[in-house]
């Protein structure tokens, strides 16, 4: 019985680790065309301060792609970032040069993980405002999306 408990515990740990990825393999109900960006939003911030933007990117193509850059006039610097746990309970943030977008899957930019870092926003972003963000891909055409600001 003791061994079974240990086994279950280790299995749970293993499943926990497997769930770490921000990429989801899709099955049923996954349909669309090309590379689609949805559910975008960003944090409010006053002029000169920091904000972060989030969204989901789905790659419906039969071939893999990559997000290789982001651009916007809403901030002095716009970077692809990820927050990560450096060691027990200690969080850090680092720049990610490109993000893999495997075929038929969705990549989640979300709080505590991948995010678009907006360093020194050029105007105050209040709840309800919007701004444009351009995403560059390795194999697909660039896309400009509208990002609403919300709390």
């Amino acid at each position: 019985m003791k061994y079974l408990t240990t086994f279950l515990f280790i299995t749970l740990l293993a499943i926990g680790c497997a769930g770490e990825s921000d990429t989801e393999q899709q099955s049923a109900e996954f349909s669309g065309e090309g590379v689609e960006v949805e559910g975008a939003w960003a944090r409010p911030a006053s002029e000169g301060r920091m904000s972060a933007a989030y969204f989901l990117i789905s790659n419906f193509n039969d071939s893999d792609d990559q997000l290789i850059g982001v651009e916007s006039d809403v901030a002095q610097l716009v970077e692809i970032h990820e927050s990560y746990e450096r060691e027990e309970g200690m969080m850090g943030m680092r720049e990610v040069p490109e993000v893999d977008l495997p075929s038929q899957s969705t990549v989640r930019f979300q709080q505590g993980g991948l995010h678009i870092m907006l360093i020194q926003v050029t105007r105050t972003l209040a709840d309800g405002d919007t701004f444009e963000l351009t995403l560059h891909f390795d194999n697909s055409e660039s896309q400009t999306i509208e990002v609403p600001v919300r709390l």
């Binding site: 409010p44 006053s46 972060a52 309970g89 200690m90 943030m93 680092r94 907006l118 360093i119 709390l151």
Partner: protein, 195 residues
């Protein structure tokens, strides 16, 4: 992802039961310390004296961090929004970057989150006081990378402990949570027991 969350919840619940089994649930007692801090309005505040008699939810942030720290700040706000009778509880967000997070900067930050109002308090202080405070609450901070911005200034970022603390009316530390990782309802349920 969901299974991972369930796993965290399971661990938290078992920790809860373990803690309840102990006769003394306090993890620390802050009643014998005094930290002179300044809030977003420039008013002097003493922790924990000025908050004694109220439960306290306290998060640690720096405002140059829009992801994890915004997550912590909005989690603190969500705890406030979700509890039944929040009026008695104080909600504190303390910066570990006092050089840049002046009262004015904290006020702007609070306004962006619609939290520049009671019962929220954004606190900073002199570097020496903040260092001692962070040491006491076991928040570790280290400089990570930096960027040169248009003005030619160097902007630095920090690695830091991610936590929210729950403190009772007697300034005793009752729970210590992962600030951005812990589901808000777990903090809310623990807080409800202190009201």
């Amino acid at each position: 992802m969901k299974i991972k969350n369930l796993f965290y919840i399971a661990i938290l619940i078992s920790t809860l039961f373990m803690l309840q089994a102990c006769s003394s649930p306090a993890l620390d007692d802050y009643s014998d310390v005094q930290f002179e801090l300044t809030d977003q309005n420039g008013e002097l505040v003493t922790f924990p004296d000025d908050f004694e008699g109220s439960p306290v939810v306290m998060g640690f942030i720096y405002t140059h961090c829009p992801d994890i720290c915004s997550f912590i700040t909005s989690n603190v706000k969500k705890v406030y929004e979700e509890i039944d009778n929040p009026s008695d509880t104080k909600f504190l967000l303390v910066t570990f970057d006092p050089e840049r997070d002046t009262p004015e900067v904290l006020k702007n930050y609070a306004q962006a989150f619609d939290m520049d109002r009671e019962p929220f308090h954004f606190l900073t202080g002199d570097s020496e006081t903040i260092d001692r405070f962070m040491e006491r609450v076991s928040v570790r901070v280290q400089e990570s990378y930096s960027r040169e911005v248009e003005s030619g200034d160097r902007m630095y970022f920090l690695n830091h402990t991610d936590k929210i603390l729950l403190i009772n009316k007697n300034s005793e530390l009752i729970f210590d949570y992962g600030g951005s990782m812990t589901p808000v309802n777990i903090i809310t349920e623990d807080l409800q027991k202190l009201l």
